[in-house]
Amino acid sequence: MSESTVTRAEYVVLACAEIFSGAGEIMASPMSTSSTIGARLARLTTEPDLLITDGEALILEDTPAVGTKGPVEGWIPFRKVFDVVASGRRHVVMGANQLDRHGNQNLSAFGPLQQPTRQMFGVRGAPGNTINHATSYFVPKHSKRVFVDKVDVVCGVGYDQIDPENPAYKYLNIPRVVTNLGVFDFGGPGNTFRALSLHPGVTAEEVAENTSFEVAGLAEAGITRDPTAEELHLIRETLDPRNLRDREVSA
């Protein structure tokens, strides 16, 4: 397969895999299709010691295709997940209804706290995730509605919430934001949203037009690297033969 045929969803999966580069022996907790394929791709290439689950209560021994089951190596019911969260040995990839330039995230509701205009999930595990261990985000449709100046409800904690006098905040770490347009982090001035690479075919203007705030390093951002032949094969044949990734990410 030639590299020219690499789809946007495949670049996204690759970028999601790289979220886990160097993660070691921790629990990878991706919350969407593309980030799940990414975590499993990392496990099959450079990060074999990652722990992955079936999304319910079983730790998977092998690395099966998304949506399929495989042999099990352990048990992780919900209450034990909270023990793992508190231990810090985890990297979660959450979604976001809103994300601001300091990394505050909302998946709870829109509007006032006690009478929202639209109800979503509530804060879920976002406050505990972000204050305890590495938390990255995956946004399948990068837009101004998601990348806002101010989130309505702070669920995932952003860098500007840190109290420098209080060591309880010392584990806050948001390594990556992967979107359908590119790869970002919070390495801009004062821990602000920064472009690391744009996917092939994406322009800086497109990112700027779809983000409410200024994106640091946008002009200098490179291009997301191409997957290797092995990575492409693993994505297409082993991990996602039914091409579920295309349903989540369009070019």
């Binding site: 319910e56 209560a57 079983l58 048990w75 019911p77 919900f78 209450r79 909270f82 969260v85 508190a86 709870s108 509701a109 509007g111 706290l113 006690q114 009478q115 929202p116 205009t117 639209r118 109800q119 979503m120 999930f121 509530g122 804060v123 879920r124 595990g125 976002a126 406050p127 505990g128 972000t130 204050i131 305890n132 409800v153 702070v154 669920c155 995932g156 904690v157 952003g158 919430q161 840190i162 109290d163 006098e165 209080n166 060591p167 309880a168 905040y169 584990y171 806050l172």
Partner: protein, 302 residues
């Protein structure tokens, strides 16, 4: 010879012990092994102004549909499958009908553990820096460690207050008439903690069996509840419907979709109430079976 207490009761007898204004805990998780038969019994009663503590799903939705909830403590509310957001909880929220103390999922476990151990609070990191502080206001405070770090700074953490409950409702797969009970399947959820945090503890089970059969049927580790944790046992086959229940049954996705669709208009909800929620638990189960049969027939006709 004196014998142990027989704690078997009916759904309506148990709910008869509830009072308006109580704080109740509902076990399970999202749309998983929820005590739905108990919830339906609460809908049949005139109990109201409840404060509910839960990992929310359609249990909270149904209580909201009947205006029974005054205040809710929860880590999330989810149907776990499309449309994911519970429509009745969403309505109660956007109408401002309930006061919420939304919190991180881990804070629910922490608050139940504090209550179970009769502690006023437990420290936890989760919640710091987030709008959980805003949801709770003065009801959620911090606590500073008396042990500083090596650099002399002390950690200030969330002081999660005990989630003390007047009553807890949980549904398990198998139990005896004394309150020993077991889950099967992959997850106990937090049902033991709900029982340990509550004054009155009510468990419904798929089937009541003799103690000997119970302990032979499951590994020791699945015996989640002992007699000290239970005040009444109700036999309620299919009592978690339409949520899933371990190895007993999966979620009734079709019916859950019907529930969520029916919430959309007053007319469709009235039809849902008339068909499913205006009689006894037996009437509900019969109507559910009819619903499954007719949707199967409908598919075959296509």
């Amino acid at each position: 010879m004196a014998s142990k207490r027989d704690k078997t009761k009916s759904l309506d007898e148990v709910v008869g012990e509830l009072r308006s204004g109580m704080t109740i805990g509902l076990g399970g998780w999202g749309s998983r092994r929820k005590p739905m038969a108990f919830v339906r019994a609460i809908l049949r009663s005139d109990v109201k102004d409840l404060t509910v503590v839960t990992y929310g799903g359609p249990d909270l939705g149904l209580l909201c549909s009947a205006g029974k909830v005054k205040k809710a403590y929860y880590g999330f509310v989810s149907l776990d499958s499309a449309p994911f957001y519970d429509p009745w909880f969403a309505k109660a929220r956007t109408a401002g009908e309930i006061e919420v103390r939304e919190m991180d999922e881990g804070m629910v476990k922490c608050g139940l553990e504090a209550a179970a151990a009769r502690l006023p609070f437990l420290p936890i990191r989760a919640g710091l820096g987030s709008d959980v502080r805003s949801f709770w206001g003065d009801e959620l405070k911090t606590v500073t460690s008396p042990y500083p770090e090596a650099d002399g700074r002390s950690e200030t953490l969330i002081a999660m207050p005990a989630l003390n409950l007047d009553a807890s409702f949980v549904h398990l797969n198998l139990g005896d008439k004394h309150g020993n009970a077991a889950y099967n399947g992959v997850d106990p959820y937090f049902d033991d903690l709900y029982c340990m945090a509550a004054e009155k503890r009510y468990v419904s089970v798929e089937r009541i069996v003799e103690t000997e059969e119970l302990v032979k049927s499951v590994p020791l580790q699945n015996l989640l509840l002992n007699r000290m944790m239970v005040d009444a046992v109700v036999e309620a086959p299919n009592g978690a419907h339409f949520t899933l229940a371990g190895e007993s049954y999966g979620r009734d996705e079709k019916f859950q979709r019907h529930y969520a669709e029916s919430a959309k208009t007053p007319e469709s909800w009235q039809a849902f109430v008339d068909t499913f929620l205006s009689g006894s638990e037996e009437d509900y189960q019969a109507a559910v079976k009819k619903f499954a049969d007719s949707s199967k027939a409908g598919e075959q006709a296509k």
